[in-house]
């Protein structure tokens, strides 16, 4: 699995308009007069890929707001957005092309490894790039010879150094060999890393695999636990749930239909009900009449019984009166003396207050009373008879009424109860179904969430698979540095032959520092600046070529600023006499335009080789003024061409609307 960086588009979003350069797969050439912003384009790309700072040039400063890079890292397209005035501001990354930025949320990253108190927990931009390019995230020993060396994090910038050379560095003696010793050591370590020959490479990959495997297993465990839980709670599978929801929908529909038809049926069948109801009310009326007559008779019986008793009491009193009269005797009208005082008692006055009927009269009265007793008894008996009759009638009426009521109830039950029950049942079931449907839908959501786990696990699996592939290859090939250097030296020699320099012999790399040698002279000791430029480009091209053929941690991306530096191909090139010896340049004949052309051709051939292998690579080459005869051949690769005099209607520079 090889890594690749493919720049699609660079945009400086300005106040009035956006300034855009589009890039293609393979070779891209930018050329134009000096100070037209060619190098700024490369600087911006470098900055958007995490460079510490970006030196603004006046035109951009006056109109720009922020810069955007639409880039494909391996397979995934991202849009990187960064403030151009403040390099410490967070870098935003959108998981899409620049056109679709509006519809995706961005993820923010810290631009450097410096810990930020303001944004704790945010990831680093470098880690994002390393991750996206599927490079191994490792720690680099600051002192490789010591086993207890301090470790520092590998930064994407360390790798990117081998992808970009700016115009200040190309061809100089310092290029490839920094004055800073610590940096030199670091660079050699990164070089080893690129070729997977670091001592710790295999263990790092293993570590990476084990970390990812752990993560994967944890996720898998989670997934299984949840799955088991869902299964145990009879949660229903995704497809079952789908079926459940649709079948619930169908049931709901059919029950609603049945309810409508039920409502239509209820309104018929009323006549029988009415007939029974009228009979019932008649019977009830009759019952009430009988009850009333009975009550009347009861009252009559009571009253006549009391009267009869009264008569009987009177009879016994009259009889007693007669017997008392015999005992007490006639009450005389004599005046008698009071036994207490000396007054007399007037008996006749006392006597006059009472009735003193004759015995005959009393006897007559007794007989009359006896007759009346008989009469009242007759009335009582009569009333009793009627009462008895009514009672019997009442019991009959009651039973009839009972029967009618039962019939009525039964009828009511038969007619309306089943409807009610049915209705109840339907309504009940409808509510249940609706509730159930809701539950199914929410279960589906949970299932979806659950499946998300699976997707994550799958992506981890792919990543682990890649790492294991790599591990296999590492173990199988176990590339040794000397073999790598041999291969690189072959590439470099092939390149030099293609350029047709004089005497392309004695080509090799130094052990330990990995610096190329020509005619057994180390790079920094070559006196001709033009030759150093050719060698420098060759050094980078050898990397690109090697990446095509072997497993490397290298993103197949190369930006070279001012390809023709020191090559004296142009009329008005003035170079510092310190950096290059014009005599040596003359001797090497580096200003031969065919050599310059050969460099381009070699690079174009290299990109074609990539195409043939269906691999992605990108070269971005910048130069001042490409000779006209070469321009004709290269025109297909030119992505930007500026002219400070606006010759032939060419834009004045990358920022083309600033009035100076």
């Amino acid at each position: 699995m090889s890594s690749s960086i493919l720049i699609n588009q660079l945009v400086v979003v300005g106040v009035k308009k956006d300034y855009t350069v589009n890039f293609n797969r393979g070779v891209n050439i930018i050329y134009g007069d000096s100070a037209t912003g060619k190098s700024s384009i490369l600087n911006l790309i470098d900055y958007l890929l995490g460079a510490k700072h970006f030196s603004l040039y006046p035109e951009i400063e006056s109109v720009g707001r922020y810069a955007v890079l639409d880039v494909t890292l391996n397979q995934d397209r991202y849009t990187i957005k960064r403030d151009i005035y403040d390099a410490s501001k967070l870098i935003e990354v959108y998981p899409c092309s620049y056109v679709d930025v509006e519809s995706y949320p961005s993820k923010k990253y810290l631009p450097s490894f410096a810990p930020s108190a303001k944004h704790p927990g945010l990831g680093f931009f470098s880690e994002f790039l390393i991750e996206s390019l599927n490079l191994n995230n490792i720690m680099i020993k600051q002192a490789p010879s010591k086993s207890d060396s301090k470790l520092s994090r590998l930064s994407f910038r360390d790798v990117f150094k081998f992808c970009y050379v700016d115009q200040d560095n190309l061809g100089t003696k310092k290029f490839l060999r920094s004055d800073n010793y610590a940096l030199q050591i670091r660079n050699t370590e990164v070089f080893k890393y690129i070729f997977n020959t670091l001592d710790s490479q295999i263990s790092d990959v293993e570590k990476n695999i084990s970390e990812k495997t752990n993560m994967r297993n944890e996720l898998d465990k989670k997934f299984k636990t949840v799955a088991e839980f869902l299964r145990e709670s009879e949660f229903g599978s995704m497809s079952n749930l789908d079926d459940d929801v649709s079948s619930a929908d169908l049931d709901i529909l059919s029950i609603e239909k049945q309810l409508v038809s039920l409502n239509e049926r209820v309104s018929s069948d009323d006549e029988v009900y009415l007939a029974i109801q009228s009979t019932l009310s008649e019977v009830t009326l009759e019952k009430k009449a009988v009850q009333q007559r009975m009550e009347e008779n009861e009252l009559k019986i009571e009253r006549f019984s009391r009267l009869k008793n009264e008569y009987l009491i009177d009879i016994s009193k009259f009889k007693s009166s007669i017997s008392a009269r015999e005992l007490i005797g006639v009450i005389s009208d004599d005046i008698c003396l009071c036994p207490v005082c000396d007054n007399s008692i007037a008996v006749d006055v006392a006597k006059s207050k009472f009735d003193i009927p004759s015995s005959d009269k009393i006897n007559y009265e007794i007989n009359a009373l006896k007759k009346r007793v008989k009469d009242t008894e007759g009335i009582i008996n009569e009333s009793k008879k009627i009462w008895e009759f009514d009672k019997e009638k009442l019991s009959k009426v009651v039973s009839v009424e009972l029967e009618a009521r039962e019939l009525f109830d039964k009828n009511t039950k038969e007619l309306s109860t089943p409807y009610l029950a049915e209705r109840d049942m339907f309504v009940n079931k409808l509510g249940q179904l609706k509730q159930k449907r809701k539950e199914y839908v929410s279960r589906l959501k949970i299932r979806n969430q659950h499946n998300h786990f699976m997707a994550h696990i799958e992506s981890l699996d792919i990543s682990i698979g890649n790492l294991q592939d790599r591990l296999e290859k590492l173990k199988d090939n176990a590339p040794s540095m000397s073999a790598v250097l041999e291969s690189l030296a072959d590439n470099l020699q092939e390149y030099l032959k293609f350029i047709k320099i004089k005497d392309p012999t004695g080509v090799s790399y130094t052990e330990g520092k990995f610096i190329p040698k020509l005619r057994n002279i180390e790079y920094q000791n070559i006196t001709s600046g033009g030759l150093r430029t050719i060698m420098g480009i060759g050094y980078l091209c050898a990397l690109m070529k090697e990446s095509l053929n072997s497993q490397m941690s290298y993103p197949s991306f190369l930006m070279i600023d001012t390809v023709g530096k020191y090559l004296g191909k142009t009329k008005d090139q003035v170079h510092s006499k310190v950096e290059t010896s014009l005599v040596e340049d003359e001797k090497e004949a580096v200003s031969d335009p065919s050599k310059y052309q050969n460099i381009f051709e070699y690079i174009i051939n290299l990109s074609e080789e990539y195409e043939k292998k269906n691999r992605i690579c990108q070269f971005i080459l910048v130069d001042n003024d490409v000779p006209d005869h070469i321009v004709d051949k290269l025109s297909g690769f030119i992505v930007a061409h500026f002219s400070s005099e606006r010759l032939n209607g060419l834009p004045v520079g990358f920022i083309d609307d600033v009035k100076t």
Binding site: R306, N309, D314, F318, S323, A324, I331, K351, F354, D355
Partner: protein, 169 residues
Amino acid sequence: MDLPFIDTENDIHLNLSVVLLIISKLGKSNRGVLKLNNERLHIFHYLVKNPIELNKVLSSLGKGGIILQAKDAYSITSISPNLDPLFDRGGLKSILSILISKGLINVEFKKNDGFFYSINDKGVSISKGLNGDFFQEVQLICEKLKSVLSITESKLSQTLNQIIRKESI
């Protein structure tokens, strides 16, 4: 005023007999103390003639009841007793006058409690002859009333008043 029928309430012999029986049974306590003055005699006379009311008074005083005869309990008087005699002292005075003139009872005057009545030998011999259905009933009631003799007249009349008031509401 001549009505076409005779009212037993106004029959002189009946009234004389009842009062004679009350005096003979309740005139003296077991220890021979005179008990019947005008007030108590008046109340007793009313109660004896209205067994339903008597029953209520007895139960209200906690003295138990008498066994009512069906014809007494289930009569017209039982549902609407005649209260007039309670406010008529003249009737009882006349009866007492006649009994005295016939020489059937003795009268004694006590300064604080007024006149007291008791039966004499002649009265006893006559009262023994009074034994029809009605008189037997009166005698039974009088036996029952003996338990009430120890109760003061005021308490007795208060109880009766309460019962009458309750019924008239």
